[in-house]
Symmetry: C2
Subunit: 386 residues, 2 copies
């Protein structure tokens, strides 16, 4: 076993050091709301009170915003209101909000630039029980005009996400296009499955899964049942049968955020010889609490035990031993220092350290946010398939 190779890097500090030319910008947000008493801007979760002029236009000028993607909506006397001047929206679970981008540095990677673009496909693959399930595929620019075989990254969403989340909230297509165009990432196929086995596709798809507009969220017993991990072979089989892929460990990567990190961890040890690159972004490790209600009082590293457990979870430590012998080329963990999953991440790293398993560790500021996950993806992609 090699010695643990651990890096502590704050992406944000690194970014501000490397980009002296990074321009802070001011941005005015305004809303015409003559009947409103209070209007607030909710920008990435922070609330700012707006001031009204005599015509009932509420506004605020935020200066020194650093280049980044910002999500926002207005709170008008308790109601969430979209910005009528901005048609750019994103959906997170059941909520729709606006976004805006202040360019420069990493934020430019999150915008469509005038470079060669990959192709996005929404496909349906055959899963067990004669079901067709939906997933999203990114094919890099050039895929249709050559005969190369490409490496594949399987990129998994979190609890509450679906096969659209990384594309919409994560800006994955833009980040991939730009990093590939700049030769910072290898051209690769990226597969975005739906990790919720209680649905065949995003809850926007099947109307009968979703009567009267009410969200049918599943409880953790269904979400974290081991079914998704155990059936991951269906996805790999479809991808490797339908696309020109490198069918070898060195051509496969798997990564995910939160619940997707949990999935990526378990899939990569269960199929212990399939992936040479593993990425766990703000990963959950314990099933002892519900990631949605986030009862952190019970948050400790606890793999399911007992004979009634699904096979995926039955031999985690033995599987890890197989997975790390020989070690994957990259086993990458990133998390924010205020993430509610931080404590169990400490314990998981202690487990890896105990066995001298090699991994790369990135600790940033912030918590369990898409802002962090977009930056983790930007940091992770250049490390793949080298």
């Amino acid at each position: 076993m090699s010695t643990a190779r651990i890096f502590f890097i704050s992406l944000f500090i690194a970014a501000s050091v490397s980009a002296i030319a990074q321009q802070y910008q001011s941005l005015e947000f305004s809303l015409n709301a003559p009947q409103a008493e209070h209007v607030a801007l909710v920008l990435d979760g922070k609330q700012y009170e707006l001031q009204s002029n005599k015509d009932g236009v509420f506004s605020i000028l935020l200066d020194s915003l650093k280049p980044n993607l910002y999500t926002y909506y207005f709170n008008v006397d308790g109601q969430a209101v979209l910005d009528p001047a901005n048609p750019r929206t994103m959906r997170d679970m059941g909520n729709t909000f606006n976004y805006t981008i202040i360019g420069n540095a990493d934020a430019d990677l999150m915008c469509d630039q005038h470079v060669n673009h990959g192709k996005i496909e929404y496909v349906w693959y055959p899963a067990g029980n004669n079901k067709m399930r939906k997933m999203t595929i990114y094919l890099p620019s050039g895929y249709d005009t050559n005969n190369h075989k490409y490496p594949v990254l399987y990129l998994l969403h979190g609890s509450g996400g679906d096969e659209l989340a990384w594309l919409e909230l994560g800006r994955a297509a833009q980040i991939l296009d730009n990093l590939i165009a700049q030769s910072k990432a290898q051209p690769m196929i990226v597969v975005f499955p739906n990790g919720n086995m209680y649905q065949d596709a995003s809850p926007l798809t099947y109307y009968d899964d979703y009567p009267n507009g009410k969200i049918k969220w599943s409880n953790r017993n269904v979400r974290l049942s081991g079914q998704f991990e155990a059936s991951f072979g269906d996805i790999i089989k479809y991808v490797e049968s339908n696309y020109r892929t490198i069918r070898h460990k060195r051509g496969r990567a798997i990564a995910g955020l939160s619940m997707g990190g949990y999935h990526a961890m378990h899939i990569s040890h269960y199929y212990s010889q399939l992936f040479d690159y593993v990425g766990l972004f703000s990963p959950a490790f314990s099933t002892a609490y519900d990631p949605v209600t986030t009862n952190t009082s019970k948050a400790k590293l606890m793999f399911p035990t007992g004979n009634d457990m699904p096979s995926v979870y039955r031999n985690v430590e033995q599987d890890l031993q197989k997975q790390f012998n020989p070690a994957p080329k990259l086993y990458y963990i990133s998390i924010g220092n205020s993430d509610f999953l931080y404590p169990e991440n400490v314990q998981y790293r202690a487990l890896l350290d105990k066995h001298h398993y090699t991994y790369t560790y990135i600790e940033t500021q912030g918590g369990h946010t898409w802002d962090n996950w977009r930056h983790y993806l930007i940091d992770f992609l250049p490390r793949l398939f080298r």
Copy 2:
């Protein structure tokens, strides 16, 4: 020349006659808004005042809604508010609103059903001036598992739309999946280009086309310049080089709504021997007014004239003579009887009648609405490639 073949059919009357079992349903809309004075539901443009209970929950029960897709939002003291209980949204130009579907009859065709699904691709094709432009492609179920050649429908959006409009507002993928699964439509490839030559992709795409969240709409001189029609060969070339298509008039259809009807009319006479199926849904025919500002006082049939006109518009009547000799298998026009474009449609049909050109005419109730266009698509698709 054959005699004009004209059908007057109200789709809505036809639907209610054929579906005695069609169930009218009641639907309750409610919003928790304790600080609001007035809350209205705006349902497909109609406003309904909501009543509040003592806890500040505003609600209304609408009974006898007929099966259909409904769009809505709440008006809370003058502000548009999305339904927090319903994550299903659609965007029309810059506006985002909710939708809900009451199933049965045609409305079931607008829902994802558990049938075989086609694949959606977002691709970039090379246009003139070394530009890459974005379009959407629908490939029918089975395309990837056989070697058939497929017919192609080019389906064009209206003014203010883009390559996403028919998929999002038009429910085209669901309608295609369902009609093909029921053997009511032939399996076909459907191509959704972006008809706005002043943009390479939807305004959601390029950030520099769209600074500070402000929409950059172009004036009619740019939109209706003949450039899109003249360059349509780029699109056909890309599609016929990259997909297994029937490269013959009998395997090509073109249709569009409003400005897209204008485009389909001009493209199909300019490339007079390419299309055996033409569909004009609520088409614009005149360029004498701006379809966005809809100054109907100037609405009369007026093809551009003069030597400074783009070649596409220079010989419309001569081109039509070529197009109708021999006549296409289907030349389909549909419009609502309260559409602001109705008067110039009367004049265009008079022109066709004067020359005894054969066409199919569908007149419905209603105006210039996506509700009509979804139903026109359902009526049109089964007529293609027979």
